[in-house]
């Protein structure tokens, strides 16, 4: 395994229920500190690809290595230890709505927390202080005790980013992190993810729809179509022709303006 490789994927494929093929023959390498954006239509396999990387979905074919360790072969404690290095941010935020903001952030530490206190929502003082600091960092200082479902969509996603921060990961998977937010709020969330990449040196793999955002944040782009990897390149290589190749001719008129 070569040094500096965050993710290595070989011949990855996924078939759901023995019928629906979501991914086939994906070969991909992601270097450390990259901000890799995955493009593609809904249903092209972006979410499945991201979820195969941390084994929220078990692939049916192929192998994946995380920092040189094969996660596709990992089980039990080893799998949980590998997952601890991979934080995930979701389109629907997926925070616990009935818990406070700070408890949500603290749940990022569950991979290393001691079991019994964590079942009673108890965390060490040091972790609590770090959680408060993380909330401050994403601009939610003073909202620690607010119940998560009283926060707005953008704030909820920032709680999710703080949760990812507390996990102390080496890799961030972000599945359409801004797709359910107001266009005006998208940059504020993306900038926090960018900061994790630039300041903390974390590797980011992020699926996106909006080409403007891709150009602004990505260091490299790959595109999926019908479960196949159809294109990879630099963000500024994205032009009308590559765009057609990724999204098909039918999608062109609706997205013309952004190209």
């Amino acid at each position: 395994m070569s040094e500096g490789l965050a993710i290595r994927i070989e011949g990855l494929g996924k078939v759901f229920d023995g019928r629906i093929r979501a991914l086939s023959g994906i070969d991909l390498e992601v270097r450390e500190r990259e901000f890799l954006v995955v493009l593609g239509l809904s249903g092209s396999g972006k979410s499945t690809l991201l979820r195969c990387i941390n084994r929220l979905i078990d692939p049916t074919e192929g192998r994946i290595w995380i920092f040189g360790e094969e996660i596709t072969a990992a089980k039990g404690a080893q799998l949980r230890r590998l997952r601890r290095q991979i934080a995930m941010i979701f389109q629907q935020f997926n925070i616990v709505r009935r818990h406070s903001a700070v408890t949500n952030v603290l749940s990022g530490t569950l991979g290393r927390a001691s079991l019994l206190p964590s079942l009673f929502l108890k965390f060490p003082q040091s972790e609590q202080e770090r959680a408060v600091a993380a909330l401050e960092r994403v601009g939610l200082g003073g909202r620690e005790r607010h119940r998560a479902d009283t926060l707005s969509g953008g704030q909820q996603q920032r709680v999710a980013i703080a949760r990812a921060l507390l996990q102390e990961p080496k890799l961030i998977l972000a599945d359409e992190p801004v797709a359910s937010l107001d266009p005006a709020l998208r940059h504020s969330v993306m900038r926090h993810i960018e900061a994790l990449n630039k300041d903390e040196g974390l590797t980011v793999v992020c699926s996106l729809h909006d080409v403007d955002l891709v150009r602004r944040y990505a260091t490299r782009v790959v595109a999926l179509r019908d479960g196949h990897l159809v294109w990879q390149g630099r963000p500024h290589d994205l032009n009308r022709d590559t765009y057609k190749e990724i999204y098909g001719t039918e999608a062109e008129p609706a997205t013309n303006a952004t190209i």
């Binding site: 941390n54 929220l56 074919e61 925070i95 616990v96 569950l110 079942l119 999710a160 996990q167």
Partner: protein
């Protein structure tokens, strides 16, 4: 991994064959029931005047039907229908289990054998049901006077049992409460094992799911009255036997209701907590439990409400509570006192219903 794909294909074939068998079984049951209902109607109408001039009872008519022959015939007909489905259209069992094939969906029901079978089946069910339950409208409309003294007693409650009734009513409410309270911990623990969405991961959890579901369905199928009889011989007559009887039944009922609310949770938080590297218990605590607390509370209060109603019947056989003094009054024909007790139960049930509805409204 070609081996994986082969496994998938063979499991698909296996599932399809299972579905075929299920459709065949459903057809056999439907056709068999249909045949038996026709035979029943023929028997009843041909024996309308027996040698003594008496009508045949429904029990007697049901007793002379040719069950084994009908079952055999039904299996053969079910086979035939599925074999010739491309000529005569899909069978009702196929429609129920696997859905009708694409090309048949547009056809109007009056143009399919399945459609006519269904309509005739429903009509037959109603007619045979009428005769089997011996519906007797003339008696219903002309013989009210026979029951008038009971109704008179019920609307003229006597004060003689008011005090004892109230005391036992308190016992009834607490009996129902204790049965519910004792049922919460086991039902809570079992509900995770009985939820489909949490038990897909490995063979052991799937086995546990099947075991818990089967056990609970069986427990729920046994009437609380029967549980009461068991516990009365176990711990003796009295309210504790009633608590135990309702407890067992409540565990089964709550497990089912709880596990259904586990099945309807948003999978998002579960994914998110799993992704942090959390263990199974932590995933349950953070991803599942916060989402199910409101429905759990609501179902628990609802169950308490049901247990209050059920404890009356439990009391009839010696399980304590107000039912215990209701039974002898019924046997003695003390309709005024029965009226008092029935009124007390009705008011309590009505109040419980009202309060539990209010609380559930608040929580959800």
């Amino acid at each position: 991994m070609p081996r994986g794909n082969e496994l998938i294909r063979s499991s698909q074939r296996f599932e399809k064959n299972i579905a075929r068998l299920q459709a065949l079984a459903a057809d056999a049951i439907l056709i068999g029931t249909f045949g038996l209902m026709i035979e029943f109607l023929v028997v009843v109408f041909s024996c309308r005047r027996g040698p003594t001039g008496l009508l045949i009872t429904s029990e007697e008519a049901l007793g002379v039907l040719h069950y084994a022959w009908m079952a055999a015939g039904a299996v053969i007909l079910a086979f035939a229908w599925n074999l010739f489905a491309s000529w005569i259209g899909a069978s009702p069992g196929r429609a129920l289990i696997r859905g009708v094939p694409e090309w048949e969906r547009e056809i109007d029901w009056t143009h399919t054998l399945r459609g006519w079978f269904t309509v005739l089946f429903i009509e037959m069910t109603f007619f045979s049901g009428w005769l089997i339950t011996e519906v007797d409208l003339p008696s219903f409309f002309t013989k009210f006077s026979k029951a008038s003294n009971i109704v008179h007693g019920l609307v003229h409650p006597s004060g003689a049992v008011l005090h004892q009734g109230l005391v036992l009513l308190v016992q009834t409410v607490f009996l129902a409460f204790m049965a519910t309270a004792f049922a919460i911990p086991p039902a809570f623990a079992l509900s995770f094992a009985a939820a489909r969405n949490l038990t897909r991961s490995n063979r052991f959890s799937r086995l546990m799911y099947t075991a818990v579901r089967t056990g609970m369905n069986f427990t729920r199928a046994v009437e609380p009255l029967v549980w009461a009889l068991i516990f009365i011989s176990w711990v003796g007559i009295g309210p504790f036997a009633g608590v135990l009887a309702l407890w067992v039944h409540s565990i089964a009922a709550l497990t089912k209701l709880y596990s259904e609310s586990v099945e309807s949770i948003d999978p998002g938080p579960v994914e998110a907590i799993t992704a942090t590297g959390a263990g199974t218990l932590q995933i349950l605590r953070y991803g599942v439990v916060p989402q199910i607390i409101p429905p759990y509370l609501s179902f628990t209060i609802y169950r308490w409400d049901i247990n209050v109603r059920m404890s009356t019947i439990i009391g009839f056989v010696g399980g304590g509570g107000i039912g215990y003094i209701l039974k002898p009054r019924v046997d003695l024909g003390e309709w005024g006192q029965v009226g008092t007790l029935v009124l007390l139960i009705a008011v309590t049930v009505w109040l419980m219903d009202l309060i539990s509805a209010k609380i559930r409204e608040r929580i959800v």
